[in-house]
């Protein structure tokens, strides 16, 4: 369909339909700036960025799975398992006198490497044994949580090297009004009263997340593997007939998902300086799926993007923070999130040809 054959109104409708999440995000920012005291400030931006990293990671991995028409319910508990494992490694090595510069990287690397395992198993179950993704990953949901509780005995893992929290909460630069910018460390002679005005610029964690999201957005949109992911979600049988190595690609997709979950777990350990198993009420996987769907993906498969998912995560984070700062009861936020989730799918179903012509 060529754009110049359409009327002006149709073209506007297409743009709105395509970018409704972006528009919605802008509307939210404007709205909350009016209603929320102190909302429009670099500190709020930092709050959104800093605390959205784990959700961004879970949702990015989930995006790959959902585009193939699958679902990964295990990400929340894989995250908890890896948080516990990486923290135990850091704690035990540190207790034996190893230097933090050895035990922290080792904890991170081993955690990430083990994090590939649940995805490998999920992928093999889905691809080779034709277990429905819902069931395969529901199994892993229980297994990962069970192991996390077995290793942690239900306790948070504590007594990590003190540097852990500094890495997790560090910024590349700090700005203090009247004193200028300092890089990597807070102004050395900062006094108690000034801390309140200190503004951190670009947290480490968000840089790691931004780089990874860019890399995987590229993989999804520009590589052959990425095309295969969409093709599998579009029509898995057609993809097989077309000679796409569906089994291999599906296994990779589930490994990407659990890798992102593991990274989210490691990051949680770094930010809070404790390893925590995921609590049952957390429902992290459901929030990740909601963000992916709000970002334009379809649970039927074949649609979705990392960029859209990123917007979906920010919409959820902004709702959380904006409602709070506007003094609105948290229960209305649940209603809002539920409504927007359904709204996203209704837009998808009603105007598919407008959105993706």
């Amino acid at each position: 369909m060529e754009n110049n054959r359409l009327s002006f109104g149709q073209r506007v409708a297409i743009q709105v339909g395509r970018n409704w999440v972006t528009l919605f995000l802008v509307v939210l920012v404007v709205l909350f700036s009016l209603t929320g005291r102190g909302f429009f400030s670099p500190k709020t931006l930092n709050n959104v960025l800093l605390t959205s990293s784990p959700a961004l990671l879970l949702a990015a991995g989930e995006t790959f799975v959902i585009i193939t028409g699958g679902i990964d319910l295990s990400v929340g508990f894989v995250r908890g398992l890896i948080s516990v494992i990486s923290a135990i490694i850091m704690r035990d090595l540190y207790a034996q006198g190893y230097s933090p510069s050895f035990c922290i990287p080792l904890g991170i690397v081993v955690g990430l490497a083990l994090g590939l395992l649940p995805g490998l198993i999920n992928g093999i179950l889905v691809a080779r044994f034709r277990v429905p993704p819902f069931i395969a990953t529901l199994g892993m949901y229980g297994v990962a949580n069970g192991f996390a509780l077995r290793f942690s005995k239900g306790f948070p893992i504590t007594f990590l090297p003190p540097e852990v929290g500094q890495i997790g909460n560090g910024f590349f630069a700090y700005f203090l009004p009247g004193r200028g910018v300092s890089f990597f460390e807070r102004h050395p002679d900062i006094v108690e009263g000034e801390m309140r005005n200190l503004i951190g610029i670009v947290p480490y964690s968000i840089v790691v997340v931004a780089v990874l999201l860019s890399v995987f957005a590229f993989i999804l949109s520009r590589t052959q593997f990425g095309q295969h992911v969409y093709a599998i979600g579009g029509n898995i049988d057609a993809a097989r007939r077309a000679g796409i190595p569906v089994d291999r690609d599906l296994i990779r997709v589930y490994m990407i998902s659990s890798f992102f979950a593991a990274l989210s777990g490691v990051m949680s350990t770094l930010i809070f300086s404790i390893g925590t198993h995921t609590q049952f009420s957390a429902s992290l996987e459901l929030f990740a799926i909601a963000a992916v769907v709000i970002g334009g993906a379809s649970l039927m498969g074949g649609k979705g993007s990392i960029w859209g998912t990123t917007l979906g995560v920010f919409v959820l984070a902004l709702l959380e923070i904006g409602f709070l700062m506007s003094g609105i009861l948290p229960f209305y936020r649940y209603i809002a999130v539920g409504t927007i989730l359904v709204f996203a799918v209704v837009i998808d179903q009603t105007f598919p040809e407008v959105v993706y012509e």
Partner: protein
């Protein structure tokens, strides 16, 4: 000769009777511990039960520690334990006030005594006859009272004036809801203290951090935060540290895990309420012992007090017993 036989028969009979009587009175009960969930608190109750049972020479069976809270998980475990046939008393924390009444009643009717710890069935009052008054006793913390006491301690710390914020987990879990309600009640006695909000993080630390950071941004003059459990307090103090407000914003928290005690020592948390789960465990075993062995009447409710950790007492030797430990 005949007399001798009669006397000895009578003697044998008396000894036998006495022995049998003594056996009936002094039977050492076999205890089953069925925790409600796998968490530090229940782990500590279990530790108190195990230590006390060992001390009194009682046999103990421990069922699995369920990974989720709920009757659908707990009831099958309880039924399996009752079906073993060798248990005299089950100590458990009912995961629902209503849903556990019928299953526990069935178990009780099969000849097993029930002691509920931490949580209760019905309204928790077993002293009046009712459909749920059959357990021997309820031993547990008064969450509402704990909330009230946290409020008083925090009010002292902030000079009885200013804005405070409550960070909690779920709006539908009775224990934390009662802590919040108790805290509000306690704070209502201070006209110059205003509670600016209650937020729910569903046990996710990032959410707690995000919410407290946002609350501090909206109300920069907040001077106190009450985190109703580990994850709430953890996120709250991280937000306060990041905002550079350590010390200026007092953090009160619930449950003395090693991590919160460490945070207290580091000055990131200012008050930690410790329940006494170990004591709850020992009291439960003692109650079973007194009932079965000594034939004593058991009080229908026992409420252990709280212990408050501050930086002043955190290093005292006698405080250490109240820290929840995994080993």
């Amino acid at each position: 000769m005949k007399k001798l036989v009669i006397v000895s028969l009578v003697l044998i009979l008396m000894v036998g009777l006495l022995g049998g009587f003594a056996l009936a009175q002094g039977k050492k009960p076999k205890i089953a511990w069925c925790p409600a969930i796998d968490d530090p608190f229940y782990y500590m109750i279990g530790k108190g039960i195990a230590d006390k049972a060992k001390e009194l020479g009682l046999e103990l069976f421990v069922s699995e520690y369920p990974k989720a809270w709920g009757p659908e998980i707990q009831v099958p475990i309880l039924e399996a334990v009752a079906a073993r046939g060798d248990i005299d008393v089950i100590i458990t924390g009912p995961t629902s006030k209503e849903a556990l009444i019928a299953p526990l009643k069935r178990i009780h009717d099969s000849g097993i005594e029930i002691i509920t710890v931490d949580t209760y069935i019905g309204d928790g009052d077993y002293s009046k006859p009712s459909e749920y008054s059959f357990p021997l006793t309820f031993i547990g913390t008064d969450n509402f009272q704990g909330g009230v006491e946290v409020a008083h301690h925090l009010a002292e710390m902030i000079g009885k004036k200013g804005k405070v914020f409550i960070e909690t987990t779920n709006p539908d879990v009775s224990s934390v809801v009662e802590r919040v309600e108790g805290f509000k009640k306690g704070m209502s006695e201070y006209p110059d203290i205003e509670i600016v909000g209650v937020e729910y993080n569903l046990d996710v630390q990032e959410k707690a951090q995000q919410q407290v950071a946002a609350a501090l941004q909206a109300n920069p003059d907040i001077v106190g935060v009450f985190g109703t459990n580990l994850y709430s307090a953890q996120g709250a103090y991280q937000a306060v540290v990041n905002a550079g407000l350590t010390g200026a914003v007092k953090i009160a928290s619930w449950d003395a895990t090693e991590d919160l005690i460490k945070a207290l020592r580091e000055g990131k948390v200012d008050l930690v309420l410790a329940q006494k789960p170990y004591e709850i465990g020992t009291l439960a075993v003692e109650a079973a012992y007194q009932y079965f062995v000594e034939g004593k009447e058991i009080p229908k409710r026992m409420v252990p007090r709280f212990f408050f950790f501050t930086r002043d007492n955190v290093d005292d030797p006698e405080s250490q017993q109240y820290i929840y430990r995994a080993d």
